[in-house]
């Protein structure tokens, strides 16, 4: 259910929905700018967890009693909300996992192991998080396939021309993120997918940093696989989603064996359950999946367009304020970005900046952001990253700028 496409959000009202934001850290009001790592949770998500455990905790599917029925309905309700959220054709294409990391490992392990052969090529980009590098390294090594990296430009964008030249008849899989966690770059996934398909390769998109910020429609994108994580979109930790085209999921072998994923088991032969249960072995993370549904509704009710407008405002303002400070260098200056600002300050280690900001109640992330190859590309050890969500304000960015100014002044004494 989407509200009008063009309303201005009342940010103070939205902040009231997030209990965690109203606290002092080190004697200062908390400024939470670590949303690309994990976003905070609105009260309704937290309440849903309590309601579930207090009201209808039961193992789902196969149970005939009332609580099991209620829990199953709520769990499958979240799957339907997720289907709608991603624009997928069928809820059978929505597999719940523990997070994007598990979703990628599932594709690499199951699809990769089955379809990669010696001499085949897998293409990823230089912007990837370790979780979209390592699973491919593992499967490529095992199958004798080659892992190829699309270079990144100085502005932190995928070099599309180079990408075109890397694609070949040997390309089997292309895996990139929709938006970079380190730099915020929004990648031209539509082009990436189209070009790969022309060569007969399948494409997996890591949507961890896109889900809470950008409109997503997997059918329009024609993505073969698309992964998202609940905890980066106002939902609980421990829930992720793998969308996969039905025809691909059907031919993929199970990733894990156990309960839930079987139809019949004898010691001689086991037949697997239908989609998506074939990939959901064991008792799933019922409570968190149910509460994840509320996170999706929260986003839908605000409207992604409205969220994006507010976040883009914050991004532009942060760029402006940060560039006023002497020695600040932005890393990642792509034209299209989600609300992530990565920067370094000449002569100051990111850890020190993070520590000093924390002393002022400002939470940022420092280091390589699980993208060491990308940091190597820019010849740096790491950055300071401030990432914004819908509940952040310009006044908070002023606090960040003021904190940074004090640090620079202190160190240039």
């Amino acid at each position: 259910m989407n509200v009008s496409e063009t309303i201005a959000l009342d940010i103070n009202k939205i902040r009231d929905l997030f209990p965690i934001l109203h606290q002092q850290v080190n004697g200062k009001p908390l400024v939470y700018f670590d949303n690309a790592a994990t976003s905070q949770k609105p009260k309704r998500v937290i309440q849903k967890l309590v309601e579930y455990y207090e009201g209808y905790n039961a193992n789902i599917h196969r149970g005939i009693h009332t609580l099991a029925e209620k829990a199953t309905k709520a769990y499958e309700g979240s799957r339907e909300l997720t289907r709608e959220f991603l624009g997928a054709a069928s809820s059978e294409e929505i597999v719940f996992t523990r997070g994007v990391t598990e979703s990628i490992n599932l594709v690499a392990s199951s699809y990769g192991r089955k379809f990669l052969n010696k001499g085949d090529e897998v293409i990823i980009s230089g912007l990837e998080h370790h979780s979209n590098i390592v699973p491919w390294q593992i499967v490529c090594e095992e199958k004798g396939a080659k892992l190829i990296i699309i270079p990144v430009t100085d502005s932190g964008e995928i070099d599309l021309t180079k990408y075109k030249s890397l694609l070949s008849d040997k390309t089997r899989i292309v895996a990139t993120n929709h938006a970079s966690n380190s730099l915020g770059t929004i990648n031209p996934v539509e082009d990436i997918i189209k070009l790969a398909h022309q060569r007969g390769a399948v494409v997996m998109i890591d949507g961890a940093q896109a889900a809470a910020h950008l409109p997503i429609n997997v059918v329009e994108l024609d993505a073969d696989f698309y992964c998202i994580s609940s905890h980066k979109m106002y939902g609980p930790t421990g829930v992720g989603v793998l969308y996969g085209k039905r025809k691909l999921l059907e031919v993929m072998p199970p990733y894990m064996g156990g309960g839930e994923m079987i139809k019949d088991v004898t010691f001689e032969k086991t037949t697997y359950n239908d989609l998506p249960y074939k990939f959901e072995a064991g008792t799933p993370n019922i409570a968190d999946v149910i509460a994840f549904g509320d996170a999706i509704e929260f986003i839908n009710e605000l409207g992604k367009v409205n969220i994006a407008r507010h976040e883009n405002d914050l991004l532009a303002y942060a760029h402006k304020r940060l560039q006023e400070i002497e020695g600040v260098q932005l890393i990642g200056t792509a034209k299209n970005k989600v609300s992530v600002v990565s920067f370094i300050i000449e002569g100051v280690h990111p850890f020190d900046i993070g520590q000093m900001l924390d002393a002022r109640g400002i939470a940022v992330r420092t280091g390589h952001h699980c993208t060491q190859p990308l940091m190597d590309r820019f010849g740096i050890e790491g950055t300071v990253r401030a990432s914004f969500a819908v509940y952040n304000t310009k006044a908070e960015i002023d606090s960040l700028a003021e904190g940074l100014r004090r640090i620079v002044n202190f160190l240039s004494k």
Binding site: G27, F351, Q355
Partner: protein
Amino acid sequence: MKSIQEIQEEIVSEFSLLDGDQEMTVFYIMELGQKLDEMPEADKTEENIVKGCQSKVWLTARLEGNKVVFAADSNTAITKGLVSLLLRIFSGQTPDTILSAEIDFMHKIGMERFIGTQRSNGFAAMMKQIKRYALAFKTQIEVGQ
């Protein structure tokens, strides 16, 4: 030379002046680091890096008479400040004193609270390395006798 206990008490009393203000504490620690004697660039080698620290810390030690003299540096200003506190306590002490020292100033200045778990592990790694040097010099002195 003041005893290790005396130096720790001095540190605790200096930090108490900051009255728990986190920002002032951080700035103060960095100031301490800025005052630390420079370590020769040639000593900043891979083998002098203290393993287990999140940021890079180099530590060397030499024996002067029967006293151990430490030198250190770090690539981050706060860590350098924290390391300078350890050097203030241990540098110039005898191996035996170092090995039997009980270090408790960190809790008293509330250090864990703002350096976080990862840095606390680094701190433990530093302590271990300091004691390892002391033990090596103790053996060296005893064999020499």
